[in-house]
């Protein structure tokens, strides 16, 4: 018997995926929209950097405008990538243990490389 007087539906409401289920979907789209101009800018920049030497590449990365945009591109890109890879893993890996291990590994790798790139960009920009 129900000890409280709420219906089953009333108790379930807000506890299921409706509570936070769209968060993953929403962040994936949010990062996608941000990456449209960032990816276009980066693709053009990469082509223009063809054949650039060490000093030219460092001068490019170290300018304030590029520091900001490049950090955004890498960090948001990796965030978008790990969200997408999570969906791919969830679709194709059916062993619960392997699935969890792979998703955790993908997230750790994304954070590690994102932070490494950010430190590298700051180091180039501020000298060291």
């Amino acid at each position: 018997m129900n000890s409280d007087l709420r219906s089953h539906l009333g108790r379930a409401r807000g506890l299921g995926s409706a509570k936070s289920g769209v968060h993953h979907f929403w962040v994936q789209r949010l990062t996608a929209v941000a990456l449209v101009p960032l990816a276009a800018w980066f693709a053009v920049s990469l082509v223009m950097l063809s054949g650039a030497d060490y000093a030219m590449v460092r001068a490019w990365i170290g300018s304030p405008f590029v520091m900001v945009l490049l950090t955004l591109t890498i960090v948001i890109g990796l965030h978008h990538a790990q969200l997408g890879l999570q969906v791919v893993i969830e679709d194709y890996v059916h062993n619960d243990g392997a699935k969890l291990a792979m998703i955790v590994a993908v997230k750790f790798i994304a954070v590690f490389f994102g932070l490494a790139a950010t430190v590298a960009i700051l180091r180039i920009g501020f000298g060291g």
């Binding site: 223009m48 063809s50 890498i74 997408g84 890879l85 791919v88 490389f113 590298a120």
Partner: protein, 132 residues
């Protein structure tokens, strides 16, 4: 009905070995494949920046790989993946807002994505190779 006496002549679901995927399904799979390629590419991009923050000599080693045939194929493939995923991603965003779901429209936007990707990739390769 038990499995034993089920009629065997019913149509089966498409088997990937003998079923030619429609245009839209191929684009969908290519979006995933380029997404996975770009994920690896993002790590490569991060590595490039880390090497640039290092000494002249360590960067030269990294750069010599980029200049090799394999390196150029990787970078060229990376640019193709980026352009396809970017343009097809914009198509996905239109779908998210409910536009272009009719089969006719999805087919047309699919071909537009293919055409724009081809033009952008060719332009990037030509300009990139000229600058080297």
């Amino acid at each position: 009905m038990s499995a034993a006496n089920r009629p065997t002549s019913r149509p089966l679901s498409p088997h990937l070995q003998v079923y030619r995927l429609p245009f839209l399904a191929n684009l969908s799979i290519l979006h995933r494949a380029t997404g996975i390629a770009l994920s690896v590419g993002a790590l490569y991009l991060a590595t490039w920046v880390v090497f640039a923050a290092g000494s002249f000599d360590t960067y030269a080693k990294f750069q010599s790989f980029n200049g090799s045939i394999v390196g150029r194929l990787v970078l060229g493939g990376w640019l193709f993946s980026l352009f396809f995923h970017l343009f097809n991603g914009i198509r996905h965003l239109f779908w998210d807002f409910g536009y272009g779901f009719e089969l006719k429209d999805a087919d047309r936007s699919g071909w537009i994505v293919v055409a724009v990707t081809a033009v952008a990739t060719a332009a990037a390769w030509i300009v990139g190779l000229r600058l080297i």
